[in-house]
């Protein structure tokens, strides 16, 4: 038999041999390991390298900055590692973190809570609005579905900021919504909508709804609808069937959609700045102020690290539930 026609034929031959000589097996496994080329390693290494360069490194840099104190220098913070008289000193400042938690006015804690609150309710609203939309998408004809998809995705072709400005003109005192309500005689006085929390919610829900709808749609497309019939068959009413059969089945979609809304909503800066009132200070604005107005990079970095820690909790939970869902199949 000519050797080296292809790796697979060589492998086949070895397998055939192994059947008659089991002792060879160990050697064969060794051969298989050796056959893993540098290309295979490169393929696996590439995504790791990407994560290392663009996620882990910046994170470590921010973490390092958060452990220093502000200085009037370039860059505007103290170095962590210094050499003095032949001794290497590593000075880790923790006062940025302590000041976040012990700030007299509680500015930071308040804005964390406020951000969490806004992100949580925005996610909930997106879920409540997005589920029926995703259901409609999953249960309509393909032609209709394509049109509906375009309607959902097309707005994101225009700039995010432009769309938020559009909402400003809609929500303002002499804006379209107030005008219509006045003309219809539903209200006598224009409603104060712009620069309220209401406007912030409108903006966030409007912007992030597609990120909720799409994973929900994917999950709903995978739902085994005979399970719903089975539930009906066993005497389960529609509302209960929704919660006891459909929700568990679309769990992964609900989780993914909620993450995709919650995480960016938590650090959202533009929407609260443009639509929100001056009173409600979210964590995004705190970050902006510390970085650019106060030039306090270390404190700003600490604020960011704390926020990341807050986010890590739901992310870990999400990954765990994903793994569980995979095990079930």
């Amino acid at each position: 038999m000519p050797t080296g026609i292809a790796g697979s034929s060589a492998l086949l031959r070895r397998r055939r041999l192994a059947r008659f000589a089991p002792k060879r097996r160990k050697k064969e496994i060794k051969v298989l390991v050796q056959e893993t080329t540098w290309r295979d390693w490169a393929l696996v290494a590439l995504p790791y390298l990407w994560m290392l360069l663009f996620f882990l490194m910046p994170f470590l840099i921010i973490f390092k900055i958060s452990m220093s104190v502000t200085e009037i220098a370039i860059p505007p913070y103290s170095p962590i590692v210094t050499f003095k008289e032949g001794a290497m000193q590593i000075i880790l400042h923790l006062e940025n973190y302590t000041s976040i938690f012990t700030d007299e006015d509680g500015t930071y804690l308040k804005s964390y809570l406020k951000s969490l609150q806004v992100a949580f309710f925005s996610t909930l609203l997106c879920l409540l609005i997005g589920y029926p939309i995703a259901w409609a998408l999953a249960n309509c004809k393909t032609a209709t579905r394509n049109v509906l998809f375009m309607l959902i995705i097309m707005p994101s072709w225009t700039s995010f900021v432009v769309r938020i400005y559009a909402w400003m003109t809609l929500l303002k005192r002499d804006g379209l919504i107030n005008d219509i309500l006045m003309v219809l005689g539903i209200i006598d006085e224009p409603l104060h909508m712009l620069q309220t929390d209401f406007a912030v919610y409108v903006g966030i829900v409007y912007c992030y709804l597609p990120y909720m709808v799409l994973p929900l749609f994917t999950a709903l497309m995978k739902v085994d609808y005979t399970l719903i019939e089975a539930a009906y068959d066993l005497g389960c009413r529609p509302v209960r069937t929704f919660f006891s059969v459909l929700v568990p089945q679309t769990r992964s979609g609900i989780m993914a959609g909620s993450m995709l809304v919650f995480i960016p909503a938590l650090g959202e800066y533009v929407i609260p700045e443009l639509l929100g009132g001056k009173g409600s200070i979210l964590i995004g604005r705190i970050l902006w102020q510390e970085f650019f107005n106060n030039r306090d990079w270390p404190l700003a970095s600490a604020v960011a690290i704390v926020m990341l820690t807050i986010l890590a909790i739901p992310i870990v939970y999400f990954l765990k539930s994903q793994r569980k869902a995979r095990e079930r199949v």
Binding site: L227, A230, Y232, D233, L234, G235, R240, P248, Q249
Partner: protein
Amino acid sequence: MDVMPETAAAAGGVKNVRRPGELPGQKASPAGQGRNPILQIKSLTKEFGNFTAVDKVDLTVYEGEIFALLGSSGCGKSTLLRMLAGFEQPTSGSIMLDGQNINDLPPYKRTINMMFQSYALFPTMTVRQNIAFGLKQEGMPRARIEERVAKMLKLVHMEDYIDRKPFQLSGGQRQRVALARSLAKEPRLLLLDEPMGALDKKLREQMRLELVDIINSVGVTCLMVTHDQEEAMTMADRIAIMDRGEFVQIGGPREIYENPNCRFSAEFIGSVNIFDCKLVSSNATQSLIETGDFERRIELSHDLDLADGMPLSIALRPEKIYISSQIPEEQTNWCEGIVENIAYLGDISTYYVRLSRGRTVAATLPNVDRFKTGLPTWDDHVYLSWDPESCIALTI
């Protein structure tokens, strides 16, 4: 709430007893006599746009029987089943369960339970939760639910798997759980949608009789849908053959096999040789029939309600044909030909014999003797003969 034993005695008892002299596949007393009709369907029709899936179907199912809807895919049997379960709304006609019209009752209010072809076990729930699901909806107290779940699992021999999730079970085990779940609510009517569809052949044959035993021991009336004729014949007391949304024939397995009422039904169940014929003459004891497929006339031992010269078909089952190398003197019905092909199937061999006019006829021989010699082989000249009673005259 423990009505099961009583119903089992009342209904299942009737059918469990095999009386001496009763042939398998045929009841001594015709189905329905002295029995309580549970399900009555009257001119039920379902249209999807221009397509009529079920066309003015009438059917009565009696208490305690296993009734099979048999047909090839697309014949409307599944649509009929789904209408009974309440998943499809009939276009017209009525479904009566225990004398009450249930047309407009949603599925969750019907006392009908279904075992789905895919089993449709809830993947996130354990075996226990799956079986308890229907009972919970009734608001049954927890202790009673536990009791019932245990009873159901015992019935299907799955006690050891109570805390498993469906993905940890094999196909056969899933089927048992699905059956337990659909029986847990003690339905008036149990629907089985292709009950063996998801099992491999070996398990399928084993489960058929066990499923019948379980259903009989509970005494539930059962309507099943299948495309597998063997399954229908083994499990059902009565079978309805369906074609293009209509019932072609309804009867016991034996009746349908031995006395098909039309060409479709004869060809659908088992294999059959069909000859296109013309009636020559008919009197009270004998009918003479002429066919274009071979020279001799076919003789029947009864009369036919047909005018002389009318076309008809004669159906002849392969196992009812004798093969011999000499002219069968004692038989009046015979023809000759050459063995063209032999299919050895283990238990039987099927001989394909080409008659002199070109027609091929299938005949089977059981392989009784391991070392028997002298059997006809390829290209042998053979005579095929059969009893006059074996012929089935079909006019449609």
